[in-house]
Amino acid sequence: MTLPDPQFNTMGTLQHFIDLQGLDATILTQILDTAEGFTGVNDRKIRQVPLMRGKTVANLFFENSTRTRTAFELATKRLSADILNVDLVTSSTSKGESLLDTLNVLEALQCDMFIVRHSDSGAAHFIARHVSPEINIINGGDGQHSHPTQGMLDMFTIRRHKGDFSKLCVVIIGDIKHSRVARSDIAALVTLGAGEIRVVGPRTLMPADIESLGVVIYPTVESALKDADVIMGLRLQKERMKSATVPSAGEFYRTYGLSPERLKLAKPDALVMHPGPTNRGVEIAGSVADGKQSVILEQVTYGIAIRMAVMSIVMGNSQAMQSAIARNQDNTSIEVTS
């Protein structure tokens, strides 16, 4: 009925990592298990493996992001690949060069993998549909749609602390509407069979028909937090205060902020998560962000292993496919000549 999922290649393996919607539990678990292997690498003296030696990865950031770009850069270096940071926020596309022209140039420069961040939802889908089949695309965040590596590092953090997803009650608080992180987290939690996913926030920050994604809307942050195992905060952009969606940071904190008092409503061992950067005193109290239950910095650390896992899996898949194609061509040409 609709366009095919561009994430899979002709062999049916994951060629691009764009969207957690459409990936089954087997693939998500493979990513988590592989990342588990890479966490060991990151704890060693020499934090590098030779897996992607000689490959070139291009960081294409059409939108500013120091954190995600740095995490990908580090992951690339730990896989022994070369990284090319292309700052596109101030360069070609703003001068009117089309997105595809930029990509064609980087393909001609023989890059093997593009990490893409773009302010338009669907940008990674579009790029994946238009690059040569041997290139890998990793979505570093597209508009309000998807941030799949963040989603997976969140799952990794939860799995490390809680193990089984099926018994978990996860609460996501705040700006769901504009959040690609929320969409990716929800998709992964649903696929991994989380017991209950609750969302809470002012109606101005809830997208239409959010329940259709498999979540339950709670009327107050207090009711949502009751017996929660995992609490995920989301960043509230300053623009929201200007655009009449939220009156003020203070009011947001008073109504939805994760305060020490509210945290007590959740289970005593509940995890406190946030994709960062946090607005202290807006989404979350500083003492909660730095508190015993907070795993915010762990999330950042695990982000490297998750990105290493995703990059090596998709690149491995396309390497395997290319060599299978080459073998077939060899076989065919032998048949022809004999």
Binding site: M1, T2, L3, P4, D5, Q21, S98, L99, L100, H118, D120, S121, G122, A123, H125, F126, H130, D142, G143, Q144, H145, S146, R180, R183, P207, A208, D209, I210, S212, L213
Partner: protein, 444 residues
Amino acid sequence: MNHQTTNSTKNKTYIIKGAMTSGSIETSDVIINDGLVVSSIPSNTQDSDIITVDASGQLLLPGFVDLYSRCREPGQTRKGTIASEAMAALSSGFTHVLCSPDTSPVVDNIATVELITRRSKQVEAGANIIPMAALTLGLHGEQLSELATLQSAGCPIASQADKPIDSANVLYSAMEYASSFNMPLLMTARDAQLGIEGCAHSGEVATRLGLPAIPVAAETVELSRLIELCRETGCHLHISRISSARAVEQINDAKQAGLPVTCDVGIHHLFYTEELLAGYDSSFHSRVPFRSLKDRDQLRVGLASGVIDCICSDHAPHDIDASLAPFPATEPGLSAYDWFIPLMLQIPQITGLDLNDVVGKLHHAPHKILGNSPTHFLTPDAPASFFLLDVHACCDAANIDTFQPLSSGKNNPLKHHAAQDLGLERLHGKVGACFHNGWASTYT
């Protein structure tokens, strides 16, 4: 090319034999002489000038009138020209096409009106391209255009295209002023701010895809304002391309109250829904968004009940570059003409209307809105402006791999998708010949 004008001749005498009306009644021979319908062949006609057309099994239908289209000329001729789009329109049965004033320059001056009408006349075997007057200068929504002047230069209707008018004051004046000259206003109900950044219906699919959304209220809020100002001013208000179930109710209420309000629906909105955007298929990116299944079904009901007066093409040809971007950055709109007939032929099935009613919404109703009172299209001495339709013909558009559209715009989902994948029946139906402005064009 599979779909091509093979033969256009002018000012011969034609005898059309064996055609049927849309009511499936066989017509007696229809004779055209010098571009007019005549009751008998003039005695001085030479035999060599008489062409007999065997139309057995084909329907003879009056030329369609399109209340919203775009030719892209002047300004964006890489997307389409008056020549290319007039020919594409005629090959789909349209003889009269109202063109959006959002050209470059905007249709807010006589020179542009004259340019469009002159180019239109130069096209052999094409539909008449009729410019709509820009309601405000530059479509900026601030100062009124010289509506009376533009009307006498050939613009039967004034429109703000897809641009909003922020100020109720300007809108109020525009309605009062236009009604002084009995000039209808064609308006699209879209609020100037609400959902203005949006590119998809506010619903499940936009939420899943993270696309900036257009709530139904963006249409209904503006529609309320338009209707209330119409109530005050008595201006003939035509609402172009409604999209939601609630809008159908609002129009119905306005009509029940006796207001001079009419409306139309774009043909694609009778078939497509938000679901088709999944996977970021930008061929469904439409400025008037495809909404929920319930909305689409109510548009069908509204068409059947008569709340919706006409069907328009909302034809929006684009070049390839327009779609080479992430979904929100693609240019909205579907190129409609080359796939219009097979879709039109499926309307009876989805609405319960008979084909005669559907033809009425493409001929009689839009003519009335333009202030014409069309006599029956086969009345003697009327200009011959009709076409032959083979409803059973295998449609070239069904063969998506080889089908070459006549319009410059190839941006239609049916260029890439099989009809059944879009929830449509098998495509069939094809215009065999069109008689218009003295020209006879046959299509094979």
